[in-house]
């Protein structure tokens, strides 16, 4: 009888850490979101866009504040002066030869940005994915030598770009190493893979990412972030429409 009790106690004690320290899908996503958000940031970078006609490079400077505001200004010759402003609710495009700002909405958001595999829609939506998706921790997998959680996210709202996502998140750093984006019926739309990471301010940040639109043939876009500065002073007017037109 005594042995039985001891055995039960031992078994129970083995279970305690699992119940106390087991991480949920929501928590993983929350942590992954947190490492991507800065109070403010400034970066420069480039898009390397490959399609059936070859490769082209578009360079840009970008600024962001919190989860909702960002500004990208293109600096490469063909797109020089074009800007994409994301505010809390809207996405605006500025073209130097257009006399008005273009507010992207509805089906316009599905258009490709600069012919890349990234759509304007990909830039919308807050980074708070917990409120937008049901998250299920499906298991664990190794991605290029990195132990990852595998999560399935199903949209709860219709305002997100993709109804279903499958993400591979690093168990230690909570960096997203890989993601697949699907339609509601399960058709693969896009793939994202982190190629290079950098530690900034104690967080692992993806600085080179490959995005591939599976609805197109032979295309991929590599986004490289260089010279990332975080928590810097940014002019309050930076993300205003008035500033965008200047």
């Amino acid at each position: 009888m005594k042995n039985k009790i001891i055995t039960i106690l031992i078994l129970l004690s083995l279970l305690i850490p699992v119940t106390i320290f087991a991480i949920t899908g929501e928590e993983i996503i929350r942590k992954a979101d947190e490492i991507q958000v800065f109070e403010t940031s400034e970066a420069s970078g480039e898009f390397r866009i490959k399609d059936r006609f070859g490769e082209k490079v578009s360079t840009f400077n970008s600024w962001s504040r919190g989860t909702e505001e960002s500004l990208i200004e293109f600096t490469s010759r063909a797109e020089r002066g074009q800007k994409v402003l994301r505010t809390e609710d809207e996405l605006y495009l500025f073209f130097p030869d257009a006399e008005e700002l273009i507010r992207m909405q509805g089906s316009m958001l599905r258009q490709s940005m600069l012919g890349s595999d990234v759509s304007y829609e990909d830039m919308t939506g807050g980074k708070d994915r917990i409120s937008q998706y049901d998250v299920v921790l499906e298991g664990e997998e190794n991605v290029n030598g990195n132990e990852c959680y595998v999560l399935i996210m199903t949209a709860k709202v219709r305002t997100v770009p993709y109804p279903k996502e499958k993400v591979w998140i690093d168990k230690e750093t909570f960096l997203v190493w890989k993601a697949e984006y699907f339609t509601k019926s399960g058709r693969l739309l896009k793939e994202m893979e982190t190629l290079e990471v950098e530690e900034i301010d104690g967080r692992m940040i993806a600085v080179e990412t490959r995005i591939s639109d599976k609805m197109k043939t032979d295309t991929e876009t590599i986004m490289i972030i260089s010279d990332l500065k975080i928590n810097i002073a940014i002019d309050d007017e930076m993300f205003s429409l008035e500033e965008l037109s200047w």
């Binding site: 866009i49 063909a78 073209f95 008005e100 490709s112």
Partner: protein, 411 residues
């Protein structure tokens, strides 16, 4: 004997004028309708070819060698060095007139919404020798090269509630395979003969479009017309050779009959028109045959009387054949003459199908001008006379075989 029969036939025709006039009118109307339909169809064929040459492909089209292969991907970057091409074209005797053009899909951004349209970049100075753009203007003036201006299809402007003086921001994919937008002011509204062009297109100066689409001064194509009597196929071959020799670039040079889709469309249209003509022709023939046969069947009593008076079967057949022939000659002559007259009038005034052609994406003008074909008109005349005359044979041969007593029973 035949002279006697002819006299009798003529007397028979004049004896029952109402019957003769009615059957002559029926034959005449059918002949007139056939002449007019043939003319309308000939007009449509000429019109389609002319529209294709003027607004779409030219007589000959010069493009980047790879453009056609990737056309569905809107390969704006596959361009033609218009300046060097035009220098070569200046040296080729067969070339009458040429223009550089760039067609591109665009979104018109109006009050927060994108509307799909097609843009055409054109050199408005050169276009004056190619097509009558100024004559197609419904309101305003032609855009000026070098200015951010556009002229828009009147139907498109109406649909989008735009008018002269309004500014429209257009967005499109550039030769750098990025996106760009530019604001253009509407300075003119046009009404081209082709309804589809008025409902979808806007035209802007090619230099501004080249800048907007980041084409570095190049254009999508150069289209041209050859001099009268010159074969487009042979000229295209000569131009291709000359361009290769002078610019060392292998351009895609095609006569409009070779262009994939275009020639097939003309062929298809011609087949449809031929079927339409054949059906109408058949209907016309039925009217002629029916009228002629009815007239004879109704005269069985008369035939019986003639038989009883001693007229032989063959003579009866000949008599009615001559009657039918005389009536059809007179009816067809009047019908064909009226058909020619109406065609010539409508050939000048045109028939307005503009309203009914709205929304139809086909390269046919809203205003249709019938074109008289002399050979087809002569054919219709003889055909109608022969059909009407032969149509008399069936009932009259039958009538000739019937005993006079039997024939007299018909009431």
């Amino acid at each position: 004997m035949t002279t006697k029969l002819a006299k009798t036939a003529l007397r028979n025709i004049s004896r029952n004028k109402r019957r003769s006039v009615l059957s002559g009118v029926a034959i005449g109307v059918a002949a007139m309708a056939i002449v007019m339909l043939f003319s309308l169809i000939a007009g449509m064929q000429v019109d389609m070819e002319s529209n294709l040459k003027s607004y779409y492909t030219g007589g000959i089209r010069i493009r980047n060698e790879n453009y056609e292969q990737y056309e569905r991907f809107n390969p704006v970057h596959l361009t033609v060095d218009a300046e060097s091409v035009q220098k070569v074209l200046d040296t080729i005797e067969e070339v009458d007139v040429y223009v550089p053009r760039t067609s591109f899909p665009a979104n018109l951004y109006i009050e927060g919404t994108n509307f799909g349209a097609m843009g055409v970049g054109a050199d408005f100075k050169k276009e004056a020798d190619f097509i009558d753009l100024a004559g197609s203007l419904k309101m305003g003036h032609l855009p000026e090269n070098g200015k951010n201006e556009m002229m828009m299809g009147a139907v498109l402007a109406r649909d989008l509630k735009l008018e002269i003086g309004d500014k429209v921001t257009i967005m499109s994919t550039t030769a750098a395979r990025g996106t760009n937008a530019i604001t253009l002011e509407i300075v003119g509204l046009f009404t081209f003969p082709v309804a589809a062009l008025n409902a979808k297109y806007f035209w802007a100066p090619i230099d501004r479009i080249s800048y907007f689409l980041r084409m570095n001064g190049d254009t999508q194509e150069v289209i041209l017309k050859v001099k009268e009597g010159v074969s487009e196929l042979e000229a295209a071959e000569a131009i291709k050779e000359a361009l290769k020799k002078e610019t060392s670039i292998n351009y895609d040079v095609q006569a409009f009959t070779e262009i994939s889709g275009t020639y097939e469309m003309i062929e298809m249209a011609n087949t449809v028109y031929t079927i339409m003509a054949f059906i109408f022709f058949l209907l016309g023939s039925t009217v002629i045959i029916n009228t002629t046969m009815m007239v004879i069947f109704e005269r069985m009593r008369e035939i019986g009387t003639l038989g009883a008076l001693g007229m032989h079967g063959k003579e009866l057949v000949r008599l009615f054949f001559l009657e039918g022939m005389f009536i059809s000659i007179i009816g067809t002559f009047i019908g064909v003459t009226l058909g020619i007259g109406f065609t010539l009038i409508l050939g000048k005034t045109g028939i307005d199908f503009t309203e009914s052609m709205q929304g139809i994406d086909f390269e046919i003008s809203g205003m249709m001008y019938p074109k008289l074909s002399i050979s087809k008109t002569i054919f219709v005349f003889f055909y109608s006379v022969i059909v009407a005359s032969l149509a008399t044979l069936i009932p009259s041969r039958k009538a000739a075989k019937i005993e006079p007593v039997e024939a007299l029973r018909y009431v």
